[in-house]
Subunit: 168 residues, 2 copies
């Protein structure tokens, strides 16, 4: 189910792109600089909006790379406008589009390392569930919450996106 969950994460980044568009429209309708959003935070010691978007992108990018033992491309965190953040989302999605279900066949047993773990490692299975999944939704939801807190007109349907509903 790695690939299926990653597909849902891709969908969420697609939703995030729509929120970025909604934020720009909101700013335009209120005649303020849309790039004010980039620096907004919910708490002074939390990441600003830009970093929430960058972290959501990187959590997915690094996750798929580590779980398939590929080298991830480097994306420096230099975005300063909503348009640049939209481009970051697009670049991330284009990269993740290159992965197929078979790339994750050995994901569960891969050994995942991070400098901050001071020599310890996680299995791919544990990393995916305990780290990648909650972190991804943490940053996506914080991006959403920052926009909602600052007046952008979004609702649960914008968060979830289109559901695969069918006739019974």
């Amino acid at each position: 189910m790695y690939f299926e969950t990653i597909r849902e994460m891709k969908k969420m980044l697609g939703q995030l792109d729509k929120w970025l568009e909604a934020a720009a429209s909101h700013a335009q309708s209120k005649s303020f600089d849309p790039n004010v959003f980039v620096g907004l935070r919910l708490a002074p010691d939390q990441f600003p909006f830009s970093r929430q978007v960058q972290s959501a992108c990187d959590t997915l990018k690094l996750g798929v790379s580590r779980l398939s033992a590929r080298e991830a491309p480097s994306h420096p965190d230099t975005e300063q406008t909503l348009e640049e953040l939209r481009q970051r989302v697009k670049t991330t999605l284009a990269y993740v589009d290159g992965f197929r279900a078979k790339d994750f066949e050995s994901a569960a047993t891969r050994v995942i390392q991070q400098a901050r773990w001071e020599g310890k490692v996680m299995s791919g299975a544990d990393y995916f569930l305990e780290h990648m999944l909650p972190n991804f939704f943490f940053h996506v939801t914080h991006a959403y919450a920052i926009l909602r807190h600052n007046g952008v007109n979004l609702g649960k349907r914008d968060y979830l996106g289109t559901l695969t509903l069918r006739s019974p």
Copy 2:
């Protein structure tokens, strides 16, 4: 992987319980009524803190019930204190503790219905990935964000909880 992901969701509710405890301690140290937190919101047209906690609990409770074709117990949304919200989390966890991996063997192909879908249905697989998973993290993260926004001293480690790190 349904059961494994549900286990991670249970862990997240356990973390949420710790945030509730941290909120109560913060209020005590600042000498204000801890139950003020219950009504706080990030936006006037978003759910208050209490409803974020209740929704996180219900997303998990209803999700495991629907995916295993069991009837979910009813938990009326009457909590008005942090202590009552902690009890709601405990009640939910006790219920979900009763499920085993085998309860989800047919989860992917179950037909999931909700009144709001106006006669349409989702497969269990789609419901789990497109609805239960993002909704659960939406409400858990909003609960966290409301507390952070209002000065409770939490960080990413409190969000993620203990990782299953091991020696290489």
